[in-house]
Amino acid sequence: MNELSATQQGFSVALVGNPNCGKTALFNALTGSHQRAANYPGVTVERKVGTLATPGRRQVRLTDLPGTYSLRARSPDEAITRDIVLGQRRGEPRPDLLVCVADATNLRLGLRLVLELKRTGVPLLLSLNMIDIARHRGIEIDLERLSAELGLPVVTSVAVRRGGTAALLAEFDSQSARRPETPSSPWTAPDAAELRALQREADRLVAVAVRVPDRRDALTRRLDSVVLHPVGGIVVLLAVLFLMFQAVFAWAEPVMDLIDGSFQALGVLVGSLLPEEGWLGLLRSFLQDGLIAGVGGVLVFLPQILILFLFILLLEDFGYMARAAFLMDRIMGGAGLHGRAFIPLLSSFACAIPGIMATRVIDNRRDRLATILVAPLMTCSARIPVYTLIIAAFIPDQKVWGWIGLQGLVMFGLYAVGILSALGMSFVFRRLLWRREASDPFMLELPDYKWPRVRDVAIGLWQRARAFLRRAGTIILAMMMVIWFLSSVPRPPEGATQPAIEYSFAYSIGTAVEPVLRPIGFNWQIGVALIPGMAAREVAVAALGTVYSIEASDDDSAELGSALSGKWSLATALAFLAWYIFAPQCAATLAVIRRETGSRGWAWFTFGYMLVLAYAAAFVTFQTASFLGAG
């Protein structure tokens, strides 16, 4: 009876451990595909829960708690761990059993954490993870002695080998049969003296129960002598980045073309099935321009995002990310950013959405927020079609100083302004928004290198793809709908001679804001095109084509370019480029900012500050260029 009720309720186990202890790999090994990643309600901390069946046929509900060095929580992630361990988080019952996962190759910190956990009174066991690597290095651990000294069951585990979790599973069985009732003991954050005493005790345990040969991991030592070399390390980092960019832009292209083509074909198919007039015409426009173009416009970035995350996951699992943060810390620190902000900002060159999602590697909330706020300033690939159109139409194809192409130089300049303004703005935010709060010191463990496991990378990639698709399917799609509505409703009357967009709300808005846009050199056509361009920046090109009544076709870019060069002054064109460096012209990014910061306010803040920057930059550009005679 007792056993039956235990089976029905399920036995809940939580994994807790230091960062880099191999906890997530162990979680993957125990649960396999039976896991879900979502967010804890109200915060953006990832909540990973899975189920497994023990050899004794018990159902176990396993939670992977965020990694922590101590229960003394310093980040939102660590606060979640503390609250669940102490049973203080509402809606999350205290786990029946806590498994403290410790890196067998580096036991000091894991043992200190287990001593700290022991004082909370939760049923606890210690799992010495990566025991295979420890044995390979000649580290000998006396399990019985350790268990006796700690007064806890101690098992070993290997996440990457079949059967490596057998001892842990057997322990789940025997612990769930026992299910001791433990009173929760009051807990207070330990002060320095207590922490020191715990660490001393942990070091004593290491001294009596562990024999460590006095040498570092040979692979790590050899690789680090190159990878962390002051000059060589930067060269390696640049090479890794170059490869990553190459992959993101070159490998993704065929798949992106395929997705783009498929959605266009689907749009044409839907278009051919429905008439252009009447309310069916409205439905046709909704399906074709709103739904299909909207989803396609976001999904087209999925290949780039997957390749990007593949690199990030491989580098993270290998142990390189901490090194990249080490190398970049000084440069990023000058702008008030954490060394770890480097990769998210880099990702934003492809698309700000995965960049913002990648900021989860930054523990400190303020550091993370500063990175999120400036990520959209990095030149994403959706700006490229706009830049190439304007540059080809207005910048003469000539050489500067005999060998540098002027068009390429302008393109490079646009990228450079994006990077510099991102660094500059983060500096400003640190000074203005968080002046009184201390910046987090850079303190980071550099883990030994480990070969990434296919299963762990695959699970990570799948979770990120799902998160992106869920967003594309909900918030982003909803935004696209609103923008379609503004650009397509009301419909043109019978026998209308003007382009359909001139009868829409977008036209009313575009013409209404024209007086505001005049000082920056924009005409009403640009004002109108900016609204559908909110869906995705490159859509502005198509929208300009529509307002200038150019037949949409695959090679309309050149045609549109020549039309624009007849209708815009050079000053307007330059102001348009300056506008696009900064403009918050991407509803999807704003939606992701809202989601990742958990606040509508920060999304509006981003929208506002980028809009101000865009207006100011376009104003200065237009006025200066006009003054110099380009008006």
Partner: protein
């Protein structure tokens, strides 16, 4: 002897090997000293632990990578200055 006691990890060069004598966090614009001390302890910097400077960054030799017993930890020199050490030969 007293000369040795004043040595701290913040000014140590790569190749330096030593033993931690104590922590002396000073208010340095970053964290408050008590918090810095706790964080250093949580990473394993306690009296008696053996340290070695493995690497340093390109600009101003900052940050530094420290071998601490069985782990490798990256710190900025400003925080490392709180770690008092005696050199070992």
């Amino acid at each position: 002897m007293s000369l040795l006691i004043t040595a701290h990890l913040g000014s140590a060069r790569p190749g330096f090997r030593g033993r931690i004598l104590g922590l002396r966090p000073l208010p340095s614009g970053g964290l408050d000293p008590e918090e810095l001390e706790r964080r250093l302890i949580e990473l394993g910097f306690v009296e008696g632990a053996l340290v070695e400077i493995l690497h340093q960054g390109l600009f101003g030799g900052d940050p530094i990578a420290i071998r601490l017993q069985s782990a490798t930890i990256a710190l900025r020199r400003r925080e490392a200055a709180a770690i008092l050490v005696e050199p070992l030969t």
